[in-house]
């Protein structure tokens, strides 16, 4: 056993060395070949970092398309889910609250029209996406708040749609941050 421990210690040191080499080579190659993704796919606007493409952020103003509810308050340094079980009254309370807020902000929408992803919190608390249906149902509110026509905003949503991968995997969705950036651009051009 002592002999094995001695061999094991030397073996572990070599393995740690190999992992360090692996980490260094991986980081080096990633930084040289794919610097944008390797550094977090950050999105800049007028030179300022406004977020990261894959990471969701909170949108609650009327003029923006809303993100999904988040158990992490969109803190991208502490991802979290609600972890509410399906029979937990806290889940019902949360969803009821989300639904009421959504209906209030989008007058004329009935509960049965609200896509379920808009009132439930995501796994990471950082879901960057909403389903296409969730974006479309917000179009009248967003268009009115930005002084845009509903048809132009609807066309914007459709142009941002990401379909199912291979036609099978995931839900058709839009990235909320990218959609809102495109929306701001559209409002700027047609406004002033």
């Amino acid at each position: 056993m002592i002999r094995h421990l001695w061999t094991g210690t030397r073996m572990l040191l070599i393995m740690i060395g190999l992992v360090l080499v692996y980490q260094a080579v991986a980081t080096g190659l990633a930084q040289v070949l794919l610097p944008y993704q390797a550094n977090g796919s950050l999105i800049r606007r007028n030179g300022v970092v406004v977020g990261a493409g894959p990471i969701g952020q909170a949108f609650t103003a009327k003029k923006f398309f809303w993100s999904r509810p988040s158990a992490a308050s969109y803190n991208a340094a502490a991802s979290a889910a609600s972890n509410y079980g399906p029979t937990n009254p806290a889940l019902l309370k949360e969803v009821k609250g989300n639904l009421a807020a959504f209906l209030k902000a989008n007058p004329g929408v009935r509960p049965s029209q609200v896509p379920i992803d808009m009132v439930t919190s995501s796994d990471s608390g950082l879901d960057p996406d909403i389903t296409v249906a969730s974006a479309l149902i917000q179009v009248p509110r967003v268009a009115a708040a930005n002084g845009l026509s509903a048809s132009s905003v609807r066309a914007l949503v459709v142009s941002q749609e990401v379909g199912r991968w291979l036609g099978m995997y995931g839900l058709p969705h839009v990235n909320v941050l990218r959609l809102n950036l495109a929306l701001m651009k559209l409002a700027q051009h047609s406004g002033s």
Binding site: M11, I14, Q37, A52, P86, N88, S121, D123, T131, Y169
Partner: protein, 570 residues
Amino acid sequence: MTIPGILGILLFTAVAVAIAKPVGLYLYAVFNDGRTWLDPVMRPLEKRIYRWTGVNPSQEMRWTQYFLAILAFNLVGFVVLYIFLRIQAGLPFNPQHLKDVGPHLSFNTAISFMTNTNWQAYGGEFTMSYVSQTMLVVQQVLSPITGLAMVVAFIRGFSRKSGSNLGNFWVDLVRAVLWIMLPVSLISTLVLVAMGTPQNWLPYVSAHTLQGPTQSIAQGPVASMTAPMQFGDNGGGYFNMNAGQPYEAASAASLLFQSLLGVSIPVGLTYYFGKAVKDTRQGWIILGAMVLMFLGGTLVTYHAEAAGNPLLHRLGLKGPNMEGKEVRFGPALSSLFETLTTAVSWGSTAAANDSLMPIGGLVPLFNMMSGEVIIGAWGVGLLGMLAFAILAVFLAGLMVGRTPEYLGKKIQSFEVKMAVLAMIVPTFVILGFTAWAVSSKGGQAGIYNPGPHGLSEVLYAYSSGVGNNGSAFGGLSAALPFYTWTVGLAMLFGRFAMYIPALAIAGSVSQKKTVPPSAGTFPTNTWLFGVLLIGTVVIVGALVFFPALALGPLAEHFALWAGHVFGGGS
């Protein structure tokens, strides 16, 4: 359930079966001195490592020596990781100035990564410095290989005509690191980065969001951890929410790539097994039994998740259960991944298991309780399945009254006793600890969801620990000392209660002469045996948990559809 969703699940399964043979052939070349395209680079390095460590590669080990070498290597790995976690604040590469990890959590985490469990009672982005994450990667590289070496040794016991040696652990370890783990991890890292996973050593980014407030965005060497984590079926994610965190799996394509990585070695091993015992049908039947059980479980989970929560439907809402799910994955891919996470035992999650529907959560629980043999992690999955196969031929032998044999070796009382031991110990540990937790103050304090769901949380925790899985019903306060210690012990029991009997069986059968099949031999390369194997897994492996499942997820299921909630009236 939608047609694209079902097609996606079927396509993934087909691809997983299709890669079994090429992966198996490569594994065979690596462990049997065959030729591979990596030889020119790796052979000289391999020789040098043996020289530095004083290993004589031609010296073979008996099963006891092989086990002691594994034990020694695990022990050293545990101690070194524990020390690094305890002193991380004083080490460089800690831009967020994270504190030392406490003693309870360090113990739990070091055991967890050493045993290939990767149970995480912490959130990575707010607990671990970059040095600590790297030391976790060391165990993510090494711990799956311990399992792989185990099954390679086990198969040698069956495939060798005579002799009592099972190979050399250090050689199996070094070859697996150089030829399998590191090259695949390196390529996969780059694929993941291309799909949106960061790979840097920078401080966290502060972004000025469009609405005004700043958002701190965690960074780090995420891709180079995710690659071996997923390839080695470890499961310990860089971030708290693991593959749900969009940096770790930025798209459905990325999640599928990671799933394929995770499933590759386990399915390849079934072909390796068949080739090693010189009858590839033996391997295909085992893989067939695994895939059938996996597919059944996935469709059940998907059905439950797609049906959605009737309590929410009462509010007028429609649609699937999206609480704790990401839009880019949706219910079908989430169900596939959450079933895979306990079937292949990688333990990383892309949806909140605690928020799955009761039946959606029951399937992952069942996968773990049946011993993580439905595909299973590197080596240990096949090992568990072969223990079930020994029981299956024993049961078949009882029915016709003959001495059973498996792969030409007589199965006698010693082998059956060991196989049963490998199943009984985990059962006792899971049910014993669960009973203790739900009947003690320390255990109850950690339960998050009220009612039967709370029992499911605790059952899940110990099943995950014993099965060396690592996924969790995340609401449980796993960082409480009660759970860090009991789950820590469960992980150790689960690992070694499997290793010792398995190697003992291998050592015992390796000394037996191979007997040629006779008219009374029960053939184990037929679908009849496949069905018998599934029956054994379900009846022997999981039925013992039925009362616990009835009180947890099943009770919750029926209450839910009757309109009940727990702990808040109405």
